[in-house]
Symmetry: C2
Subunit: 160 residues, 2 copies
């Protein structure tokens, strides 16, 4: 085998490049959205999922899987969003343990107002800087890494 204990120069550059990208891009997109529309990154993710779900409603655990939020984080976050009137909680008729999360009118208005601006930022700082091939490469990379993580241990560091 090759030397496993260290990263060579190519590997090192790739890892650090990824760390920078990973940190900077979502930060910039999120902070613009926060300033312009008063929604955080996590707010937006939750609203997107709900707005795409039939009836604007999902079970909590489904929302957790879709967003990759840890369950306690999701619960806290939904409480805050409920206070702000963006979502509401409802009981589940067929399973009394469960809860539904429902998009309110205010929540739907918020996501519809924010989406165009958000798309614009994603374009400006990410999509438009890259070629088609690079976008596709990113999809391939993401899938390979996801597969690796799933093989290795399905739950480590994931939403529980």
């Amino acid at each position: 085998v090759t030397q496993r204990k260290w990263l060579d120069e190519r590997e090192q550059r790739a890892w650090r490049a990824f760390l920078t990208l990973q940190d900077q891009v979502p930060r910039r997109v999120a902070s613009q959205l926060q300033r312009e529309k008063g929604l955080s990154g996590p707010d937006y993710e939750v609203l997107v999922q709900l707005s795409e779900a039939p009836g604007g409603r999902m079970r909590s655990f489904e929302l957790g899987k879709a967003t990759h939020f840890e369950k306690s984080r999701l619960s806290h976050h939904l409480s805050r969003m409920a206070c702000r009137g963006l979502v509401a909680r409802e009981g589940c008729p067929t399973d009394n343990r469960g809860a539904f999360v429902v998009l309110t009118d205010k929540g739907r208005a918020a996501i519809e107002d924010a989406a165009p601006v958000h798309v614009e930022h994603v374009r400006r700082w990410f999509i438009d800087a890259l070629t088609r091939d690079e976008l596709d490469a990113l999809v391939a990379i993401s899938e390979k890494v996801a597969t690796r993580m799933a093989e290795d241990d399905p739950d480590l560091g994931a939403a529980k």
Copy 2:
């Protein structure tokens, strides 16, 4: 021009793939490091920078630029690390406003102990899942995006 208001399917997939990758990989690497060695991701980043600096010492603002931490975040974080004995603060002789951050013996021992395990995790969940070409593609992508962000506005969302 093409339709700018929405993301097409390819763009959408690429953005979501990036978001997943961006969220999952650092989370898993960091949580393993935390469990095995008691260091968080930010702890590790700070220790790496200091250990690579001559004399294990840097000015605070240099450390801020290197890590991309906002200055108040850095200050808070260094206070916590100082409490744990990983770093120490010193005054700057040539500029009395300034402060040096110095790696302690304990801090150096911690990074030397953690580095091999950390490298192993980065390999397992990231590097080894990808080809040389994919690693290079990531570097190219990162550089293009960084250039775009710098052109657009040097300071938005960056460490101030």
